[in-house]
Symmetry: C2
Subunit: 269 residues, 2 copies
């Protein structure tokens, strides 16, 4: 059953579109209960095309919706919140998806009335498979968390963490898609090196990555145990695994997550 | 519309079960048109539980079905084929999913009548997302290839390649799940290193891997282009990517695929 809550988007970019389409497609909200605004008229037309209601200006969104997604570039978030601040009431829930903009900054800019939640989604949101985390801020309670949980489970998965862990989330799932794109490209190159046509190699690589992750998620088995199950003695797989271990790829991925996490801490300062 | 073709499984292990369930769930074949045998009675009971028809012995499968999946361990494949050989006709299509058993060996053991196809699936078949390849052997034509294409698209994706490329496929998609399990474990470790609880880190890691691969498959964009789209100047993601490049992970994955592929060549000799 769709929520009666009206949902607004300030900023109607790709991530906002992915969220709005996901919520509507999964019957979490009716399209006519979704409002948006954007300085680019073409983006409003895209939102109109799937039944949502574009309005003119940020204040109009605050007047139309109770849950307001702030989906503008991080540097504009405080500006937008200060603009709509006079219209915000205790019924408003501000959901910021801006990287590095802290709850303290959001609260200061939005004023004391609205409830606040920060979310760190990632780009697979565009295909309904985001890995996201949220942290509750000023005034937000478990009913708000439940609402966000239901909304985000229509476009992937979401976990609740303390704000201090959002940098770690940024380093892992926020930045992680880039690491996996690189892996898919390298696996494709390996397939081409071994003789496969590029299109077959890339499709096999991407499909293998997808299927393996799904196997972890659906079986609930430890990835190490799943690795053990497919490595026959003196077989092909352990020969490949050996090469990855020789290169220290475990440490490399840990370094990637911790370096990106540290950079997120720096940017949030 | 389900095919009228009767499908048999010699060997009713996990991969056979994943295939049979996929074909039936996707309405490719009716359960009562699927036959199987296995020396382990419990496996036959599993197959009976979803409506298929267990029979006693390999010859009974050959008598009941036209498309026969050979899903026993590689060393038993020639034995099984020699046993059923007297029952095989021009209407039979033998589909071997055994690694390293060549078309020449299959043809020699099955005799001159049956049509033969080799398939290299991978374990995400168990969750309906296999990345597979097939090569046509003795007597098999485009109608047989089309049938296998339809069947396998109910449990993932399949590509047609020359037999000489099956080792490359083995090195990439056959062995690839193990590489990705290792990546998911390492990303989880990175998340834990950065402060996340283990369960959140592993779920974010696996979901990020799944979503990123789906983004490659559904957008059809080059993984390099997708990587570029998410790497902001001096941002978190490029900091993580830098660590992966410092460790040479591209070469490591290419080495993994080529080493596993070379091992597959050795084993097929």
């Amino acid at each position: 059953m769709p929520t009666e809550t009206k949902i607004g988007f300030i900023g109607a970019g790709q991530m906002a579109e992915a969220l709005a389409r996901g919520f509507i497609n999964q019957n979490m909200v009716e399209a006519e209960h979704v409002f948006c605004t954007d300085p680019v008229e073409a983006r409003k037309e895209v939102f109109r095309s799937f039944g949502t209601v574009p309005v003119d200006g940020n204040i109009a969104v605050a007047e139309a919706a109770e849950v307001i997604f702030i989906a503008v570039k991080p540097q504009y978030v405080p500006v937008v919140l200060r603009e709509i601040s006079p219209k915000l009431t205790e019924k408003h829930l501000i959901v910021s998806i801006a990287a590095g903009v802290t709850l303290a900054v959001l609260t200061e800019a939005a004023g004391p009335k609205a409830k606040i939640i920060r979310v760190m989604p990632n780009t697979p949101c565009l295909v309904g498979e985001t890995a996201a985390a949220m942290c509750l801020g000023h005034g937000a309670g478990s009913a708000d968390a439940d609402l966000l949980q239901r909304l985000f489970e229509s476009v992937g998965r979401i976990f609740r963490v303390d704000e201090k862990l959002l940098s770690a989330v940024t380093g892992l799932s926020g930045s992680g898609p880039a690491y996996i794109f690189l892996v898919i490209e390298a696996l494709s190159d390996g397939g081409v090196r071994a003789g496969l046509p590029r299109d077959v190699a890339q499709a096999l690589a991407a499909q293998t990555v997808l299927g393996s992750a799904k196997l972890v998620l659906e079986t609930g088995k430890h990835p190490g145990a799943l690795k053990d199950m497919v490595t026959s003695p003196a077989g092909t797989t352990i020969a490949g695994v050996h090469e990855l271990e020789k290169a220290g790829i475990r440490a490399a991925f840990m370094n990637a997550v911790t370096a990106a996490s540290a950079r997120a801490d720096e940017l949030a300062e």
